[in-house]
């Protein structure tokens, strides 16, 4: 479990949403540019890291109960995407880190995965 504020600090994030939403907590982390996979493998309450900056990212997050989104590789959402996220109450952050680096940093901080088909314990062995 991590506060979004901690996520934002760890990844030196730009915040595209209301700063108050940084008090939200995320339980898991998942990362994909494929929304099909987010729908298939994520869990409610997760933080999504993605390089896909479209309306569909927000719709998918709302449907799959994703708590917040971090756009990686310096991708920036346009106003339409930010407005849709505001309507759906999904905080948006952006980082310059690559997907690989951003995941590594958050994993090190203890944010557990959700999209794994391998039991979490086995990944540490």
């Amino acid at each position: 479990m991590m506060k979004l504020l901690e996520v934002a600090e760890a990844l030196s994030c730009e915040v595209f949403s209301d700063e108050q939403q940084l008090q939200y907590k995320v339980e898991f982390g998942c990362a994909s540019d494929l929304m099909s996979d987010v729908l298939a493998f994520s869990q409610a309450g997760a933080l999504l890291l993605t390089g896909l900056v479209t309306n569909q990212t927000i719709q998918t997050a709302y449907i799959a109960e994703i708590k917040a989104i971090v756009f990686v590789r310096g991708k920036k959402p346009d106003k339409k995407v930010i407005d849709l996220a505001k309507e759906k109450k999904i905080p948006l952050l952006g980082t310059q880190y690559s997907m690989y680096e951003a995941c590594g940093i958050l994993y090190q901080k203890g944010l557990v995965p959700t999209m794994s088909n391998v039991p979490h314990k086995a990944m540490n062995e």
Partner: protein, 141 residues
């Protein structure tokens, strides 16, 4: 069976801007009705996958959402190319998506298998050149 509530939505093919609106509306209705969150997530995911399939492949469709005290039914009846081999389309990873669909983050061949995973019963009937009818039932726990 007592019909408690029913609503229909029109879905337009290729309309990426509005894609997902019907499913998000269904999700909002279920939240207002106080349905448990696990069931809501299953219904929303199944409906959204079905809606995206229409937007990506079909010309148009009618999505009918019905809720009874025991079950949620979603029927999507589309006018489109149809599915030549439903059994093949049900396999994870099988996809006929175009590069444009993949750029939107879809078309990974997970749609129909994921609808099946999130529903208690699923029926697909398709006629090539005419369209596909999808019926999903999800029990309310």
């Amino acid at each position: 069976m007592n019909k408690a509530f029913s609503q229909s939505f029109k879905i337009h093919g290729s309309d990426m801007y509005n894609a997902g609106k019907a499913s998000t509306e269904i999700k909002t209705i279920l939240k207002q009705l106080g349905i448990n969150s696990t069931t809501i997530r299953r219904v929303a995911i199944a409906a959204y996958e079905a809606e995206m399939n229409v937007v990506m492949y079909a010309k148009q469709a009618i999505m009918i959402f019905e809720i009874t005290p025991e079950q949620i039914h979603i029927t999507v009846d589309d006018e489109g190319p149809g599915i030549p081999d439903v059994h093949l389309a049900m396999q994870e990873g099988f996809s006929t998506a175009t590069p444009e669909m993949r750029e939107m983050g879809f078309g990974a061949g997970m749609g129909l298998p994921n609808i099946k995973k999130n529903s208690d019963s699923m029926k697909v009937e398709s006629i090539v050149g005419k369209g596909t009818k999808l019926e999903i039932k999800i029990n309310i726990n």
